[in-house]
């Protein structure tokens, strides 16, 4: 069984600052970490490695320094890593990212399962996973909190949604995005750390993936960021208190005061 875990390097969530003029993240001097949700994806892959002897490959798209994030996954026990890096990939939106990642998965070839974190903490879109599934024509499930092998070709996955829990049976090859209930990320092991230090991580560009440079990066993106702004702070909040009846009366008076139609 071969599992690919997709990860993303993001600014350390503990020290995020927004530039008040450009409204973009201040990335200078901010340490990069692996997207915390992707660490649950790595853990999910490694649990299958422990249980079923699966091989786990980590893939990321990013600048050359994203290789450090891949090396960190090797320290945790991931078998192989591939870095997708090319100037042509710059400015990718979620679709162009999914295009690039899914091309890499096709190139790897024998992939039975793709695992992603539920979303990245910088963009928060939660789109890349499902888009990859569409491009690969894999069945997929999002917000997976646990999974279990049913037979050689099927897995039972449990999704956590706002409404409740859903249990699905999915055939391989499949894609899942996972949440923290999947299991606390393990610490590295010394042997893996030593191997990771020496490991040579292959770098694939658009040409290696057989991708037209116009279909990736900024050119291949359907969406473009026109403007970024911090939402204005809502300061006109009123906290109601008292019994339910008192609160209802306060609410009624307030709605009347601001002349809500029909009241």
């Amino acid at each position: 069984m071969h599992i690919v875990v997709c990860i993303k390097q993001v600014p350390d969530t503990k020290n995020v600052r927004i530039d008040p003029d450009t409204h973009t993240l201040v990335r200078q001097g901010v340490e990069s970490i692996i997207n915390p949700f992707d660490l649950f994806a790595v853990e999910a892959g490694l649990q299958l490695k422990d249980k079923l002897g699966a091989a786990v490959t980590a893939v990321t798209m990013g600048p050359p320094q994203a290789g450090d994030a891949l090396r960190d996954t090797l320290s945790l026990g991931v078998d192989d890593a591939v870095l997708l890096s090319d100037r042509a990939f710059a400015g990718s939106d979620t679709w162009a990212t999914a295009t690039t990642l899914s091309a890499a998965i096709r190139k790897i070839g024998d992939v039975d399962m793709v695992i992603c974190g539920k979303q990245a903490v910088d963009g928060d879109t939660a789109q890349v996973g499902p888009e990859m599934a569409a491009l690969l024509d894999f069945p997929y499930a999002t917000f997976v909190k646990s999974m279990e092998k049913l037979d050689e070709r099927h897995f039972k996955v449990t999704r956590q949604t706002d409404e409740g829990v859903e249990v699905w049976k999915l055939p391989l090859p499949m894609l899942i995005t996972v949440i923290k209930e999947m299991g606390e990320p393990r610490v590295p092991s010394l042997r893996h750390k030593m191997r990771a230090k020496k490991a040579e991580i292959p770098v694939w560009g658009a040409a290696d993936l057989g991708l037209d440079p116009n279909s990736v990066g900024l050119c291949g993106s359907f969406t473009q960021v026109v403007r970024v702004f911090s939402p204005p702070r809502r300061t006109n909040r009123i906290q109601l208190s008292g019994t339910v009846q008192e609160q209802a009366e306060q609410l009624y008076r307030h709605l009347k005061q601001v002349k809500v139609p029909g009241i």
Partner: protein, 389 residues
């Protein structure tokens, strides 16, 4: 200070430090309060490959030495020496097998100890034999292809939790110091049981129990080394393990210093952070001096001991005494610097003070260590031809 560690040694520090920060700090108070054995942390240390640092690669270890082991122990000890003691005690139990065991014993036990699959423990102390090892009463009598053990070991670290025990017993009382031998006893061997878990002042996450042998029958191949070499095995084991006890002290001192400086920089009295007062600065300076001096001694000694020198006992004893005393000093000063907060269980330094005391007691009291150093000095100088006057 840069101790010019190798890349691999730095990795050991980083990894053990990460475990201490992320996994141990959040649970240490709870494990201490509930006297709960840190199985979860032991599993993490196992998965991180830390149990096999000093074990040769051919037995599943990483092929390092005392220094590598000390680096890991120190980092874990920065967060909790109750947990670090449980970790280090497995090494203490393994050393007799590693140093003197037959090839078959090494193959049978070291890979599991190195992987952390099974914990080891060391059984020497008895109710009547601590500092005076010659008071040992536990006996092992040969019976065909077996030895039969009778007696009880007291205050055994990892007792009941470990599965592999290196145990000292008298095989021939008439031979005096040459009449004792070490054996491997496994949890589950017939006639081997455990007494109650002891309640302790500190290192309460570690488990301390009595080992009870009632006609405990073990195969004769479980004898470690030759019959009658028990005291030598014990002394050589302590030579290897005592720098590790020193490393526990260095870690605890550093942990106490870290908290003290952070607190002193924040705590405001008379309109200033208390670190601006000389009384506090001098305390912190003394803590830092002793911590760094202990670390320098342990690292230098550990490197030296990895060359199997002839004067191991003296150097090993120095490590244990100096770092143990430094740790109790640093922990006590930390409590003083934090004042009322330091005395409260909501803050981690009162635990450090309770924990630190054991470092002057177990694995040979610091008084016994000074005896060893004094006796070794006497021996060394008896060989001196030159006068220094």
């Amino acid at each position: 200070m840069d101790y010019f560690l190798t890349e691999e040694q730095v990795m050991i520090q980083e990894l053990a430090g990460q475990i201490a920060r992320e996994k141990i700090r959040p649970v240490r108070a709870q494990l201490d309060e509930q006297e709960e054995f840190p199985w979860e942390i032991m599993k993490i240390c196992a998965q991180a490959d830390l149990f096999g640092l000093y074990i040769p690669e051919e037995y599943g270890g990483l092929g390092g030495g005392i220094l590598e082991n000390c680096l890991a122990i120190e980092k874990i000890a920065e967060a909790c020496i109750g947990i670090a003691t449980s970790f280090a005690a497995s090494g203490l139990g393994a050393y007799p097998i590693l140093l003197f065991g037959s090839e078959a014993l090494k193959r049978a036990y070291l890979p599991d100890i190195a992987s952390g699959k099974r914990l080891a423990a060391f059984g020497l102390t008895e109710s009547g034999a601590g500092s005076d090892v010659s008071g040992i009463q536990t006996t092992a009598v040969r019976d065909g292809d077996h030895f039969i053990l009778n007696g009880a070991k007291q205050w055994i670290t990892n007792g009941g939790e470990a599965e592999i025990y290196s145990v000292l017993a008298i095989t021939d009382r008439s031979k005096g110091p040459r009449g004792a031998s070490f054996f491997v006893v496994e949890k589950g061997d017939p006639g081997f049981s455990f007494g109650k878990k002891e309640k302790k002042l500190g290192i309460r996450a570690s488990a301390t129990r009595e080992l009870v042998f009632q006609d405990c029958r073990i195969p004769k191949e479980r004898l470690i080394g030759r019959e009658g070499t028990g005291f030598i095995v014990a002394m050589k084991t302590f030579d290897k393990s005592r720098p590790g006890i020193g490393a526990l002290g260095v870690g605890l001192s550093q942990g106490a210093l870290d908290i003290s400086v952070e607190y002193a920089r924040k705590r405001m009295q008379f309109g200033k952070p208390i670190i601006s007062f000389q009384a506090i600065q001098h305390k912190l300076a003394d803590m830092a001096i002793k911590t760094e001096a202990a670390r320098a001694l342990i690292y230098a000694a550990a490197r030296y001991m990895d060359t199997d020198p002839p004067d191991s006992s003296k150097v090993a004893a120095m490590c244990k005494v100096f770092a143990g005393d430094a740790a109790l000093f640093a922990a006590t000063e930390a409590v003083q610097i934090l004042g009322g907060y330091g005395y409260m269980q909501d803050y981690p330094v009162e635990k450090m003070m309770r924990d630190a005391k054991i470092l002057q007691i177990y694995e040979g009291t610091n008084e016994i260590q000074r005896n060893i150093i004094g006796q070794e000095l006497n021996k060394e100088y008896s060989r001196q031809k030159e006068s220094f006057f």
